[in-house]
Symmetry: C2
Subunit: 248 residues, 2 copies
Amino acid sequence: MAERESDRSVSQTVRAQLALRDLVLSGRLRPGERISELQAVEITGVSRTPVRMALVRLEEEGLLEAIPSGGFMVKAFSERDILDSIELRGTLEGLAARFAAERGVPSRDLEPLKECLNEIDGLVRQDPISVEAFSSYVALNARFHALLTELSRSPPLIRQIDRASALPFASPSGFVMAQSALPEARQILLIAQDHHRVVVDAIENREGARAEAVMREHARLAARNLRLALRNRTHLDLLPALALITSG
Amino acid sequence: MAERESDRSVSQTVRAQLALRDLVLSGRLRPGERISELQAVEITGVSRTPVRMALVRLEEEGLLEAIPSGGFMVKAFSERDILDSIELRGTLEGLAARFAAERGVPSRDLEPLKECLNEIDGLVRQDPISVEAFSSYVALNARFHALLTELSRSPPLIRQIDRASALPFASPSGFVMAQSALPEARQILLIAQDHHRVVVDAIENREGARAEAVMREHARLAARNLRLALRNRTHLDLLPALALITSG
DNA sequence: TGAATTCCTCTTGTATACATCAATGCCGGG
DNA sequence: CCCGGCATTGATGTATACAAGAGGAATTCA
């Protein structure tokens, strides 16, 4: 471990959580495999107490599953589970958009959203979209979704969306990088950006049903990406989280 | 402490979690109040380690809030928060109903649901509904909602619904007991039961949109109950969880 | 008298020792 | 050869000791 004493500012618990999450997402631990506390202690270099804390947090995040007799194992996901998680997030984001539309948002709160839109426009203008542009898109897309969620002004809903988006393959930007290898890449990005624009328009005009429906459909682009990526399995290495998928 | 050595079978963590949850829900701890680990140790009689575990679990349950500098405090909820939590649950249950309808469920899986319906019918038949009948209704209603959620056959969605229903005032049966003191009690129960029947019918006929819409509206009965209960504040003692509400 | 600083106390974060329980493998008997 | 029970091993659950940090109160200086 090179970064043993890195970041003395963050707690041991967080450090362990990050290390273990990477370990799971990288696929070095097979789904269903038990992850023992002592083993985790060896890997992370911190003691059992923060390791335990990290394991509990990762379970609540959805990456681990508690074993009835005690301890944790790496969770396994079917393709259906992932598709459902995406639909779930879309439903929640749709609710957020509806709340925003029905309750109204001051126009100055829409400013950051529109800035996001413009910046993304600048990215998708280039015809073969560069890998760096994809990377920037991921960041901007995450920002847009976060801002949109905030517009609901509903702490319980925001909390739930954050939790639903914690799984990497359910997050709004989960499968964007997978697109980068696809021939349909630019096309899909243009559609996604149109969704973004439409939902802002709907909120502005206080059209709740429209805003909700568009966000639901928007999430389904991620599902489409997943299916495409699974079909041409060429660049699956772009999606480390897919190591958790089982053939179920 | 009278029950110091009660239930040697359950873990200390669970015991602490139950004790602290009761403490919070009973309102003996004010919203915003810091809950120190040592204090919790005194109350529960277990040591700091399981207390810590219980606090983390209660935070993830949504009853506590982490203080940035460390430790936890009792979370405060506005009336709007509660209404949003109910709408949120309704949305998720609506999604579950839609999944069930669209994907189809074998008729033998609908049997338990229909049994529930019949049993509830027996309860709401009496005209002044007794308090015991209300109590039975709460149990049957919880059972119905759990069965319905299962029909989605979607582990991620089931998990999320469970988490959304963990807050007592967001759970399907959260405000049923509050009705018992209301003049509109029986009327509301009859409507709720009609919703139950309609959603089963919709699922049977694979009408996804109908099933979803009905479950959403069904949840709004809870919101209606909350508003009614808050208006005539006579029997607010039936709802211990309302101690968490702030005038925000 | 007010404000800043220092010290103290109480808090949580971390490490580790101990107890307990489950799983597994071995040994003996049928 | 197979099955059952027992012992051993290693896991997690629990308790506690220690360290570091935040918050508050008191004191001192301007």
